[in-house]
Symmetry: C2
DNA sequence: ACCTGAACACCGTTCAAGT
DNA sequence: ACCTGAACACCGTTCAAGT
């Protein structure tokens, strides 16, 4: 499948007419279609109907190829819009964008996490998050810490999502594991429900809200829930520069 | 290295006198010493001075071996003690135990996460966490959700820890990535500090505290313990108590 | 400049065969 | 019951050679 869509000049048996961009594009398509593990040098070569060494000539080592694939997808990303009127709402919205995006491109995200390059993929969205934090009055080390904290949460929930949907053998599922637990400190109701999968989106939302709420300066009058108050933040809400 | 420490009956060239336990033990030692990727069937066989097929005879497929390794470590775990007097303190303490343990056995944890079996390793600590939640009045789906949320955070911070300490090439480090960002919505101070690694332990602490605080019913009588104020939450992460 | 063919050093896994 | 040897189908990577 998935031939190169380049305008091949002379697709003879000798000259495949391949571009570096073609190789990266085919690799990205392969990953999106069949997952991170499907991206092998030999498989990709077969897909492009060339020899493995040709891949090496165009893109170098597999790690280089992976980075190029991630960068390619990052380029294609439309800048996600941040919603909300209060600072907290907007920060949570920016944080949720990272989650949504990672989930939307989970195959590439999984690939990126294998080489420790998830940030490469999410950097524009992280920038947007930090910008919202700034205008909410959080800057410096505090801003960095909330950002890292949010990234960690998103990464962790991706693991849960990965686990929920596939490939984990039945005997390692929540149900099987918690079925074997018998502890009199835990009520039967709780034990029962621990075997069931959570509503991931809602859970991500609640968690991000909690983390953000702990980091942002207090908004008075308001209890600690995630329906954000009407009152604006006391601390100098800087507007975004045009 | 790392010979089996079993009382070998007749260690001739023909009979290695291997036990299934010996194989699993050697595998665990190998992983702890050299990381998850060092555990290959051939490498393990060489370590035990037998043929690869011998490993298969004793433990079956690699995935089975991995599960056995995790189960073996889980058995060895001493039950971590939960500290604190208030419900929140104790829940946070139980949650922190999961983090501490995962970090202490990061190689095995990494191995477990490759096959989606981290819970197998942490289950006893999760049980302790759920028990604390129960006695704090959180049960049913709410207890499940906090538990999952905490697990996700821990898993995510492990990724950060992994990333911070090794193997990620310099051009993918925070410093390099954020050095390339130029956004006028973000102040120079923040931009500067985003390249620096956070204090992970403190950050985990703050994050877990935030997640727990959002989940536990408010405690009216207990005004100020060390972690959870009823009003402002500091923007800088809190240090761990000794 | 672009691509092939053969080769090296690894993987996980299976199967027949030895004692 | 326990272990070996040879083999299969994969990996990433390199190198000399072709046009």
């Amino acid at each position: 499948m998935a031939h190169s869509r380049a305008t091949v000049t002379a697709p003879t048996a000798r000259r495949a007419g391949l571009d570096r961009d073609d190789v990266v594009g085919a690799a990205l398509a392969l990953v999106e279609a069949e997952g991170a593990d499907a991206l092998t040098m030999r498989r990709l070569a077969a897909e492009l109907e060339v020899t493995t060494t040709t891949i090496y000539w165009h893109v170098g080592h597999r790690d280089d190829l992976v980075l190029a694939v991630i960068a390619r997808l990052a380029d294609r990303q439309a800048a996600a819009t941040v919603r909300g009127s209060t600072p907290r709402e907007r920060v949570v919205s920016a944080a949720r964008n990272i989650w949504t995006n990672a989930l939307a491109h989970r195959n590439v995200t999984a690939l990126a996490s294998q080489v420790g390059a998830t940030t490469l993929l999410e950097l524009p969205l992280e920038v947007a998050l930090v910008a919202e934090l700034e205008s909410a009055g959080v800057r410096g080390p505090a801003a960095r810490d909330v950002t890292r904290s949010i990234l960690a949460c998103v990464a962790g929930f991706l693991v849960l999502a990965w686990r929920a949907e596939e490939r984990v053998p039945p005997e390692l599922r929540w149900r099987a594991l918690w079925a074997g637990v018998d502890d009199d400190r835990i009520s039967p109701v709780t034990l029962e429900v621990l075997g069931e999968p959570p509503d991931l989106d809602a859970l991500v939302d609640a968690t991000l809200t909690a983390v953000v709420a702990a980091a942002l300066p207090v908004e008075p009058d308001v209890p600690t829930d995630r329906t954000v108050p009407t009152d604006p933040v006391p601390t100098e809400p800087r507007r975004r520069t045009p």
